[in-house]
Amino acid sequence: MVTPAPTKPPTATKPTGPAQRKPRAMSGTGGRTAALFLTPFFTIFALAMVAPVVYAIVLSFFAQQKSGLGFGEAKTAFVGLENYLQVMQSESFVGGIGRLALYCLLYIPCMVGGALAFALLLDAAVARARKLFQLLVFLPHAVPGVIAALIWAYLYTPGVSPIVSVLETGGISLNFLDNQMILPSIVNIAVWEWTGYNVIVLFTALQAVPREILEAARVDGAGEIRAAISIKLPLILPALSVIMLFTVIGTLQLFTEPSIISKATASVTSTWVPNMWAYDAAFNRHNLNQAAAASIIIALMAAVLSWAVTRFSSRNKA
């Protein structure tokens, strides 16, 4: 676009004649320095990320096999892809993926749309008390997820919730925790929690939109809304795609809210979403191998989805 043009000439002039040797010398020491600074990161990354993943992959190819009544020692046997097959054939795991897809369908438009609307409002020239609203919008995100889920569980529970009783006096009897409402109810918690955070990201991106472009638009007769849609939106698209990426990955990791809510209602089963399925396999059914296979499947889904999102958004940019 237009903006990077003025900065280009100086960078182009720099690597001339004698200076050309310098970068090579620098890259020698720079490489060493970089290595020095990067070592801690890669050490921890290898220990805390790569090693567990490799271990999980290894685990997922084996199974603990018992025999007879199961009171003897279990035998570890190589079973190839059998764990993966069992996971994929499990009705509850596949059901969990379906539920998650539905959740995405409800959650992503609500949250991203909401965040975008708030950010544009905050950025609008007419907005007042910007700092205050920024804080208010962000506040829910400062509440830890577990606490948020507990608060909402309380607000949803019939008999104790002020919201439910107010609705009831108004003639609306709504059970937020029954089978039909539970998904929207959990989406609501996540929207409440994450919109504020994403507003800040988008708002920061909006602040970086060059004012002269907006002024030019205004001179051309664009109103606030037209400017928002035709100028600001395209310019913050990179930020928007980052948000999408994080949201998609975050959605796959859905665990805290449903597992807290499951204490308040039987509508949320112990294998409600894939992550809960993996937890249940590992810690209730004591089948670490199957849990490992499930986790790898979840990780692969996250990888594919994030690839799709980045691919989609970079094509959009081009």
């Binding site: 007879g68 009544l69 009171f71 309380y154 008999g159 509508s267 089963t269």
Partner: protein
């Protein structure tokens, strides 16, 4: 799968199964029988039970050879077993753990516990237990736990509400249903009790009472009957109560349940002896003192009951000092000092003979409208013999709980037990166990 691979001890051990525990005196082929030597050292003890810190302190004060470090862990429902099981697998579990009866075979089957034989003084501990409790802690020829409490299922009612409905305490399930209908007649909004979809163990207890046998062994195979005839009878009956709105489907220990007890929307609790404190805590502020009574659970014609809950003490695989751990377990499960040290933490009913009076003394039962301990005694004397827990309770537990999730949207109790049956069979087979339906 390869089920015949390990015929070793397992087969013959279980064949003479837990049911026939009378022959406990035969010295098994267990090594290192050294109960005479005085063990010393430091051990750790994990429990989620209130007051156990005081018991550990009392033990430490009573002698100076063994030092017990106590750690509170979350209860089973809140992830306590996940923590315990993971810690044992990782090799840093405690020496002494607290495990409830339904989960016990699972820990044994996973090889996470050490047999107590050879470490404990059998004549002074296991041999004095009733057959029903012994059956819960012995697998094959080995004893894997000393039982702490033996919790008979108990029905708790609001006496004033029964009076209002014009009924006496129901003794049979038929009377229970009629009482529910009469209660509806005087107070259409009230429920006689609640049905707890989160408590699969309660469904198990109700079925046990009706004569069901969810788990049993036949040769070297498990026989699984989560939807056997007796259970189907129980499921159909409770479905009828749910349909007539005599009982309310709600999670026990949830905010909703607490609020309903306090407001009088639910006037009964199907629980156990240990429910007393929970009822008192939730209803005291609403001025219900003196109105709650304990009663034997209604039956199917002749007095019968089942255990609902109760814990045992075990030595885990991680323990490097099982002899010292055994000494401490003996203290925990059989000593009067242990019971009195725990203080007033609840209306415990203990498995070891002679301990319950101490617990009774410690518990202030003045909140209740009748002599609850005499009801416990009667209930305890009618426990239906022959029940056994399966090798992986969590599979059944989870399947049943999940199936109950559909109860509020047209699901049926009967369908739920069918689902639990097939999930249990499939789950056990997946682990390589031999299963017969």
């Amino acid at each position: 799968m390869k089920r015949r691979q390990l015929l070793l001890g397992a087969v013959s051990l279980m064949a003479s199964a837990a049911l026939i525990t009378g022959c406990g005196s035969t010295p098994a082929a267990t090594p290192t029988p050294t109960p005479t030597e005085d063990p010393t050292g430091t051990i750790t003890f994990w429990s989620s039970m209130a007051g156990m810190d005081k018991v550990a302190a009392a033990f430490n004060a009573s002698q100076d050879k063994i030092k017990v470090n106590f750690e509170t862990i979350p209860n089973g429902g809140a992830g306590g077993y996940a923590k315990l099981s993971t810690a044992i697998t990782a090799g840093n579990g405690p020496d002494v753990a607290t495990i409830e009866y339904p989960q016990l075979p699972q820990f044994v089957s996973n090889g996470q516990l050490q047999p107590l034989d050879g470490y404990i003084n059998k004549a002074e501990t296991v041999d004095k237990l009733s057959d029903e409790t012994k059956a819960l802690v012995q697998f094959g020829d080995n004893t894997y736990a000393l039982p702490y409490d033996a919790a008979p299922m108990i029905m708790w009612y609001r006496k004033d509400m029964l009076d209002k409905a014009g009924v006496s305490t129901p003794t049979t399930w038929q009377e229970f249903e009629e009482a529910g209908k009469k209660l509806k007649a005087v107070d259409p909004e009230a429920y006689l009790a609640s049905f707890n979809p989160n408590e699969a163990a309660l469904t198990a207890a109700l079925s046990w009472q009706a004569g069901a046998k969810w788990f049993g062994t036949e040769g070297d195979s498990w026989k699984v009957g989560v939807n056997d005839e007796a259970t189907k009878k129980v499921a159909t009956y409770w479905q009828k109560l749910i349909d007539q709105k005599i009982v309310k489907v709600q999670q026990s220990f949830s905010d909703e349940w607490s609020a309903d007890l306090a407001s009088g929307a639910v006037v009964g609790v199907l629980g156990a002896n240990w429910s007393a404190t929970g009822i008192q805590k939730r209803t005291e502020a609403s001025g219900q003192k003196g109105q709650w009574i304990a009663a034997e659970v209604p039956n199917w014609g002749s007095p019968a009951d089942a255990f609902y809950g109760g814990s045992s003490f075990n030595i885990t695989k991680s323990s490097k000092n099982p002899a010292a751990a055994a000494k401490f377990i003996e203290f925990l499960a059989t000593s009067k000092d242990a019971i009195s040290a725990r203080g007033n933490t609840g209306s415990a009913y203990l498995a070891f003979p002679g301990l319950t009076p101490i617990a009774q003394q410690a518990f202030d039962a003045s909140y209740f409208g009748n002599d609850i301990y005499s009801v416990f005694d009667k209930a305890y004397s009618t426990i239906t013999p022959g029940w056994q827990w399966g090798p992986n309770w969590d599979i059944t537990n989870t399947a049943l709980k999940d199936a109950y999730g559909k109860l509020t949207s047209g699901g049926k109790v009967l369908e739920a037990v069918d689902t639990a049956q097939s999930a249990t069979v499939a789950g056990l087979k997946q682990n390589g166990l031999s299963v017969k339906e």
